[in-house]
Subunit: 458 residues, 2 copies
């Protein structure tokens, strides 16, 4: 029998995170203070994040040691297995060799704990008692809940009210891990109360939930805030994925021609691809595909500009691909891919032609997910299905061209807690949504007056 | 860092199933025909099962080769990892060394595909086009759906109507894997129509669903029926679990003093423990604990007698521990442990003192599950929580006695699709239920006229 999957022994768990900031051909522009327009300094961030994470956010060190206590708890689910997708290859009748890395084996079912664990640890050693965060679909909130509990921290999650009502399983996971989960807008914060005064029936939004979580952190000295994507230190922690993948590909005796990940804020994508982009900077031939929904085409149709991370304009201005902080995407069934912006690191690498962005319509993603489930067994998260769809496009292209291409997918999570999305697809209720240019223009008009980052080009 | 978990390489996947029938000190009594009371022959079963499975059902061969095609697809999730539960040990402050085998890594989230895959394969090579089955909580129905789809078979699942309505995620998993899932009672079968005539609002029961699935199989030549537990061949297929566990324990440099599994029909329990019971028969010191709910105490309070496998008395009579085929357990939140009988193999081994049964009340099982989730990260299925509760009892006993005991748990599945059960617990809605003796007596009065199996005793 041919080898189907490779587990690395625990001794092969990466001991360092890879910091791509040290290797980028174009240095990243700094975040700007929303009031002064000046670069943000560590002191500006200190009320929100513990100092070790702030240091990582601006670090230029190429490799950063993973603390022993984090390594020890990474072992709960890491190293994760890498699979050869023989059944899918056969089904597609493609000459391509398809590999996927299974990040769904973590207790929370996705890649999110890779950074949640590190963030919980650095908060713990910095004296934090409680972490606040927001969650939309619930993948991030549940991952942080689990990791806080592993390090003995309290966790408070502001969950977008409509999700809170529609996705009780995610909330229950958080509560099982001991977290407090509150529907947002809540009456616990000024931001929440202000919204509720105007509209007591507000369904909430990620922007409002961020405001509540940040406010709760700022108001209490022992409380900090945590973010599940977008920022440099978050992407940094995810690079264990790609480093493991490189060792596993080598054990399979292969090297990818194309590496594929879905990108909402950019964290699972970065985690898998940054170590391969390092190879690419050093001269390797490898294509890197970032896949987003056609209905929220941040990378493919949003300009590179300074913009706020949240709708209520509280966060620093980040240099990124953005559809505008007031952009409200269609309610598609991949909650993790509905963010108006994209991680600055990913955005800059797109600009430098090291990453190729691609947008895929919704129906094709679910069709791909069904094909994947019926061949490889695993049911993907709706977010992950975007990457699966791109993978299938590439495999069919290889077939057309008669090329033995090697394709590598980051299978970022399973969909067992998101089956309602499959119900909508299977019952024919879903449709594609191509975003009209007027909507993008309208949202972007808000950021016209904002400064544009310098654009170094290779 | 100490080793937290051991993955076996794929080359270590067991190549044979272990058939404990060959080693039992007391031979198993045969099933009896419900009409004639005579031992059931292969021809009686041929309309329902394909011949290779009937042969396995009565085989006395100690090891049975696993076909290459089954091995190949086992690799989708096997070998499964074994963990040392350092965090739980520390939390309990016990001198015991705790290990658990994670069967939740299969795409369906439980051990069930271990037999579903084998059954789908043998049906495929026997010319079956379609498999029918019943499902209560949905774990078995989803596992069979996935495995039928991997071998290109149609799958039809009769799902107890009340579960169908309350557990849409399980149904959606089945549909994602291409199966047809029908709420039972349905108007598609005589059995279903008969029930609906009397009571159009019938919530259904496992007994009714079995009748429908069997009828649908009998009525069509290309359709066979499949069962997820209880029968000898089902338990046989699960023994890959225990065989892997033995290799992994050896790699950890340990051997268990106590092996623990939950038991509803007996399949995950048998899969883990039978290879260790073989050691025990050969003189090894090892305690084998089978854990059931106090509200459905088949092994601890039910007599060993011939009884029907279903409520409507269509199946052969099986020699087993039983609460009576008319017994209706309380609606507890561990649907997989609400069967009135117990696998004949497990029942006989209890009688021979090779297995120790134990009943645990509901609240303790959820408390144990929460402790496990908050220390080891993983959220268990409510069924699995019964084994976790017994494990914690044993670990605390070891602490009291100051003994360095080695405990091994079969962690049979995750609970991410069963979070409603945790909701009931966390919100204080659950209570314990000790079954009154009158209820047992009433249900058992039905089986008084049935023949008792011969009881050889060692």
């Amino acid at each position: 029998m041919e080898v189907k999957k490779i587990f690395l022994p625990e001794s092969e768990l990466p001991r360092q995170w890879y910091n791509i900031a040290a290797d980028m051909p174009t240095p990243l522009e700094p975040p700007l203070h929303p009031g002064t327009g000046q670069p943000v300094g560590p002191d500006d961030l200190a009320p929100i994040f513990p100092m070790p994470l702030i240091e990582q956010e601006v670090s230029q060190q190429q490799f950063i040691d993973i603390p022993e206590a984090v390594l020890e708890k990474y072992l709960i689910w890491r190293p994760t297995p890498m699979y050869r997708a023989f059944n899918l290859e056969k089904h597609l009748d493609t000459p391509a060799r398809i590999y996927f890395k299974n990040e769904g084996v973590s207790p929370a079912g996705s890649h999110k704990p890779n950074t949640a664990l590190a963030q919980a640890y650095y908060n713990k050693i910095s004296g934090t008692k409680r972490i606040t965060t927001e969650t939309g679909a619930g993948q991030w909130g549940s991952a942080l809940s689990m990791c806080c509990c592993l390090f003995g921290l309290e966790c408070k999650v502001y969950m977008v009210k409509v999700s809170y009502q529609q996705k009780p399983y995610r909330r229950l996971m958080m509560e099982t891990w001991g977290a407090k989960c509150t529907p947002s807008p809540s009456s616990e914060t000024n931001a929440g109360r202000k919204i509720l005064e105007k509209n007591p029936d507000s369904p909430g939004s990620l922007g409002i939930a961020i405001s509540e979580a940040v406010e709760a952190a700022v108001m209490d000295e022992e409380t900090k805030y945590s973010l599940g994507s977008v920022l440099n230190h978050v992407l940094l922690h995810q690079t264990v994925v790609g480093q493991e993948a490189q060792k596993q590909m080598a054990q399979f005796g292969d090297y990818p021609d194309v590496v594929i990940g879905c990108a909402g804020g950019g964290s699972n994508f970065a985690g898998m691809t940054f170590p391969f982009i390092r190879d690419k900077i050093n001269g390797k031939q490898v294509e890197i595909l970032a896949v987003e929904p056609a209905s929220c085409p941040t990378m493919t149709r949003g300009p590179f500009a300074y913009d706020f991370g949240d709708t209520v304009q509280m966060t620093p201005l980040l240099p990124m691909h953005t559809l505008g902080h007031s952009f409200v995407p269609e309610p598609i069934h991949a909650g993790g891919l509905r963010y108006h912006g994209m991680a600055p690191l990913v955005s800059q690498l797109i600009l430098d032609n090291l990453i190729t962005p691609m947008a895929i319509p919704q129906l094709e993603t679910f069709e791909a997910g069904i094909t994947f489930a019926r061949t490889e067994g695993f049911i993907s998260a709706p977010e992950t299905d975007h990457a699966v769809a791109a993978l299938i496009r590439e495999a069919l292209k290889a077939k057309e061209e008669g090329k033995e291409k090697v394709l590598l997918l980051n299978w970022s999570g399973h969909g067992l807690v998101d089956m309602a999305a499959y119900e909508a697809y299977l019952s024919g209720k879903l449709k594609n949504y191509e975003l009209p240019q007027e909507e993008i223009d309208r949202a972007l008009s808000d950021i016209e007056p904002l400064p544009k980052p310098k654009q170094y080009r290779k």
